[in-house]
């Protein structure tokens, strides 16, 4: 099978199903009333965790491609990014619905007053244009350069997402720190990679 076909007919469908497994597991826990003592907190944390994981997976594609030379993986990136948006939407929905029960006043107050919510909310809002412009048609309309510039927002969003988590925890920062280190590695790779490409070859002086 050609790599393009392999991606289209095997890898993508497999990834699509795999990316829905976390949701299926959550649904199973909801149906069996197995969400623990604080179900709403469980759902909220769970969807938040998977948002961060998908953001990191999305950001792992470029390093993976460059390090392995396996260029076809780039074709999985959009789906991963959209799943990050999907879980972020569930996370957002669980907050405004289950946690706040659509109490608009309380929601607006929280967005204004609580830095971790302000940041989380901002990151979610910023994900929307990225999701909307993820189609091939939109890439063409924007033009590759502008599209790429816009989508670099994901660096800010992922960083914001990790800080959002860090600001939420009471005193044990282990988990946000792990996400932070992974993110630092993924962003650090890009920095290292762009530096490496900028260094001009030494002129031959003889």
């Amino acid at each position: 099978m050609q790599p393009q076909h392999w991606i289209r007919f095997v890898a993508k469908p497999l990834l699509f199903v795999a990316a829905l497994i976390p949701l299926a597991l959550l649904a199973e826990r909801v149906l069996h009333d197995n969400l623990g003592a604080n179900p709403i907190e469980t759902i909220n944390r769970y969807t938040g965790d998977w948002t961060l994981r998908f953001l990191l997976l999305t950001l792992a594609i470029t390093p993976l491609r460059k390090l392995t030379g396996w260029h076809v993986v780039i074709r999985l990136r959009r789906m991963l990014g959209l799943f990050a948006f999907f879980y972020a939407s569930l996370h957002f929905l669980s907050w405004i619905w289950l946690d706040q029960y659509f109490d608009l006043n309380a929601i607006l107050q929280d967005v204004a007053k609580r830095p971790f919510i302000t940041l989380g909310f901002t990151c979610f809002v910023l994900l929307v244009p990225l999701a909307v412009t993820s189609t091939n048609a939109m890439v063409r309309r924007l033009g590759g350069r502008r599209w790429q510039l816009l989508h670099r927002l994901v660096y800010f969003i992922a960083t914001g997402g990790v800080i959002h988590f860090l600001w939420l925890v009471k005193s044990d920062i282990t988990q946000p720190l792990i996400y932070g280190l992974l993110l630092a590695a993924l962003l650090g790779f890009r920095l290292w990679d762009s530096r490496r490409q900028q260094i001009p070859a030494l002129p031959q002086t003889h």
């Binding site: 909801v30 609580r114 971790f116 005193s171 044990d172």
Partner: protein, 320 residues
């Protein structure tokens, strides 16, 4: 000449039948722990062991009790880990027997008590209290214990005693959360809490040794913990080894960790938010469905009638 008289009363006639038939359990419950302390018997107080003799107290709220399973599996007890499920998992081999509590400081009669001494001296009672965590969730728990005031009176505080400082056991070998490491709870050990003397002497302030009629499970602060129902849960310090009467206001562990977020008083107050989240409402564990709104948090967790007068004239936004 020594003539052995036949015993005219058989032991079975003195000891209630139920007790002599259940001798082993009776021994464990009634204070053989003292012997165990001397290393003679490997006795462990099992959670799930009944605590006999607790009378029902009038201190009870009408709210539905939180399921035993949630009370004992959803815990904040960072000495055993920071995840809510960690304390139940990591405290199973915790040795709460033998146990001594030192009561000293500004008192005329400092003392060290075995739990058994305390239980002998203080009649225990069951009280149903609300517990409001600073994380905006709440439970309703039937505690078994006795008023802290009774113990404090026993040691006769001096006129210099203005506050009470409590200390949790510091034993990293048994409490994995206390082991040094890069990460973890990020708190200073041992855990310290404090009350003003009048708060400590308030009839609602309880020293609990059990819940649901049974010996306190390790994850809930065995063998003895504080319960101050009108304050956020973290004030109700667990596994207490020392109670010290002091002149100056103690610095609690959470105040030290984040003074902006945790004050000395930490009274439940819907009008004063935690800097990072609202305290106006709460989620009742095991009660509310996924799709029900939160319930309103009450000033002093619903105990305002009994305790608001302690803070008359104080700015509770300043003294949070």
């Amino acid at each position: 000449m020594l003539i052995k008289k036949p015993e005219d009363i058989r032991p079975s006639e003195i000891t209630p039948r139920q007790v002599y038939q259940d001798r082993r359990r009776f021994l464990r419950e009634m204070g053989v722990a003292t012997i165990a302390g001397a290393g003679l018997l490997p006795v462990v107080a099992d959670a799930g062991q009944k605590l006999p003799g607790a009378r029902k107290s009038a201190y009870r709220v009408d709210d539905k009790l939180t399921d035993y399973k949630y009370v004992t599996t959803y815990n904040n007890f960072y000495e055993f880990g920071t995840d809510k499920s960690d304390p139940a998992k990591h405290s199973q081999n915790f040795r709460s027997v033998p146990w001594t509590v030192a009561v000293d400081g500004e008192v005329k009669r400092p003392a060290r008590y075995q739990i058994e001494d305390l239980l002998q001296k203080h009649p225990i009672e069951e009280r149903v209290y609300r517990l409001r965590c600073v994380e905006a969730w709440s439970m309703v728990i039937p505690w078994v214990g006795f008023p802290l005031a009774d113990l404090i009176k026993r040691v006769e505080p001096t006129s210099r005693a203005k506050y009470v400082e409590f200390t949790t056991l510091h034993d990293p070998a048994q409490m994995p959360g206390q082991r040094p490491g890069l990460l973890g709870a990020g708190l200073d050990w041992p855990y310290i809490e404090g009350l003003r003397l009048d708060e400590a002497m308030h009839p609602l302030t309880l020293l609990a040794v059990g819940l649901y009629g049974e010996v306190l499970p390790n994850q809930n602060g065995a063998p003895i913990r504080l319960v101050v129902p009108w304050k956020y849960g973290f004030k109700s310090i667990k596994s207490i080894v020392r109670i010290r009467l002091v002149e100056k206001q103690p610095v609690s562990t959470w105040m030290k960790s984040s003074p902006r977020e945790y004050g000395f008083y930490s009274n439940v107050n819907p009008a004063v938010d935690h800097p990072r989240w609202s305290q106006a409402a709460e989620r009742r564990i095991g009660e509310d469905s996924l799709f029900s709104p939160k319930r309103k948090t009450l000033p002093f967790n619903g105990y305002a009638d009994q305790v608001a007068s302690l803070y008359a004239g104080m700015d509770l936004k300043k003294f949070f």
